[in-house]
Symmetry: C2
Subunit: 319 residues, 2 copies
């Protein structure tokens, strides 16, 4: 076999993006289909097969694919399934790994999107050579992928690593999308930051450029822009969000004592605005034996490539 490649497939609620990747993490070519267009999973797999086959033929690497890795919401590594994913068109348990394997006759591995991001970071990014780290994805939700002793943590059922749903405010916490209250995600996702903005604006009287916007439409991006422009209230929102994250990280560290925590996703791009309060709250709240030991870093993968790279890294594992 000539130079081997893997395929990474990132399934999102809107789009499915796939790419052909070499062993060094260079993307040879990418393509995509609309996830929402296919209400039947068989139609979806057929469309994926058609488009991906065309891309492989076009790049002349059809016979050089060692494995296919798939990152998907609620993807289960052990079962090769997507299970009860609220934002995908297919309900119940979908045996996707098997369906894709039968089409391509290539090994296929699946996991959830945050785990795929962690594997990508370990294979090509900031966590190369790091055996113990935690990946935190700060997007619409808060996800996590945990690596211990060089291995992805899947847990007994493949569903480990839901750190967006540890409870950071007991008793009177915010309602979370999962139906419980006080989850980390309810405070530190992009949506959480927007909620904090609305709370601050309603409960306080100090000036803020955010008051020029319709309150229900404020996004985390608006808060970021205002904070960068010097808006004090917006800066406090980042302080508040980062503090909650840093406190939670101190607890995560007491669990697995990682060498590194890697942040990824929209909010992480706010740079020091969010990193400083996280770092300060984390260090302040750490048990003495962990202080000063844990690196807090930003993902080194480009956000547009990261999902496909992460999934592709899983493809090497499948092969």
């Amino acid at each position: 076999m000539s130079k081997p490649y893997v395929v990474g497939i990132d399934i999102g609620g809107t789009n499915t993006v796939f790419g052909i990747v070499d062993a060094r993490g260079s993307i040879l070519a990418t393509g995509s289909i609309k996830t929402q267009k296919y209400t039947e999973i068989t139609d979806y797999v057929n469309a994926l097969h058609e488009e991906l086959s065309r891309l492989l033929a076009q790049e002349n690497v059809t016979d050089q694919i060692a494995g296919i890795g798939i990152g998907a919401p609620n993807g289960n590594y052990f079962n090769g399934t997507i299970e009860f994913a609220p934002n995908l068109p297919w309900k119940g348990v979908i045996p996707l790994a098997q369906m894709v394997r039968e089409k391509f006759n290539i090994p296929v591995t699946i996991t959830n999107d945050a785990n795929a991001a962690a594997i990508g970071e370990m294979t090509y990014g900031a966590a190369r050579g790091v055996k113990d780290f935690i990946m935190i994805t700060l997007g619409t939700g808060v996800g996590s992928g945990i690596v211990i002793n060089g291995q992805m943590v899947y847990g007994h059922d493949g569903f480990a690593g839901e750190l967006g749903h540890v409870i950071v405010r007991r008793g009177n916490g915010r309602l979370c999308g999962c139906g419980r209250t006080g989850c980390l995600e309810a405070y530190t996702s992009a949506t959480g930051v927007a909620r904090t903005a609305r709370e601050f604006l309603e409960l306080r009287n100090d000036e803020s450029t955010l008051r020029q916007l319709p309150i229900q439409e404020i996004t985390s991006k608006d808060v970021y822009d205002a904070a960068v422009s010097g808006d004090k209230l917006s800066q406090e929102i980042f302080e508040y969000t980062g503090t909650i994250l840093g406190e939670a990280f101190a607890d995560f560290i007491a669990f697995s004592s990682p060498k590194m925590i890697v942040l990824f996703g929209g909010l992480a791009k706010s740079g020091e605005l969010i990193m400083r309060p996280i770092r300060e709250a984390m260090e302040k709240n750490l048990l003495a034996i962990y202080k000063g030991k844990v690196k807090l870093v930003l993902s080194e993968l480009k956000e547009s490539d990261a999902a496909v790279l992460g999934a592709s890294a899983l493809g090497w594992e499948a092969s």
Copy 2:
């Protein structure tokens, strides 16, 4: 070599207990020395060598020892050291594994006492054949040993698994022995239960047989005895303690999705009095995907034997 044995050494603040154990977890013989008697570590190791050698000769198994496992407060698996253990006579970093290895010329492995308990449970106890579980030790403090995919979790520095020091009450939590506030240990250790009793008695006016005791001298054992005799306030203390544990366990499960949580130590012996509120709070607080999946069980090791058995199990690993 004839039938192989291992030696397990459990180093406590008061006593050091050692035992000769076979592959099925049967203890052939045990001995002990006073830990506190030896302020110099070399004197301690000499005394340990002398007593243990005598026991091995007496049992006629001197040449049949495959390895020595040591469980000790602040024992570090990677470094083979005891590091800054507050309750032991030797300060700083003690290279104990090396010192014992040089005396006996047998492989020696060391870890902290809660990890040793987890390894014991996995080798001889309730967690046999279970690849993903968390051991929680409820004693004077609250310790933990985490097993993921059949492997002990040590973290990048050997100090993973300090779940007694995750924060369960933010902001105005109780002062913990670690110097921070709101730790799980400050509420659910034996000392924590006694503190709860004093708080309840001081803040409330309802009757309790506990009021017959000098308030500063109430122990968790007193609370247990009163609860079993039908004392409502004491039963509420168990309810309160178990609820805090169950809430914390729900967060631990979101981390590693274990198949089982094993409870060990004095408080765990309270049986259903503590197990029922833990189970209820845990299930109530679990993210939907984990509900009904995690077994909550009591250790199957006799408390008098468990520490030595746990340490001895590590001896097989050393061999």
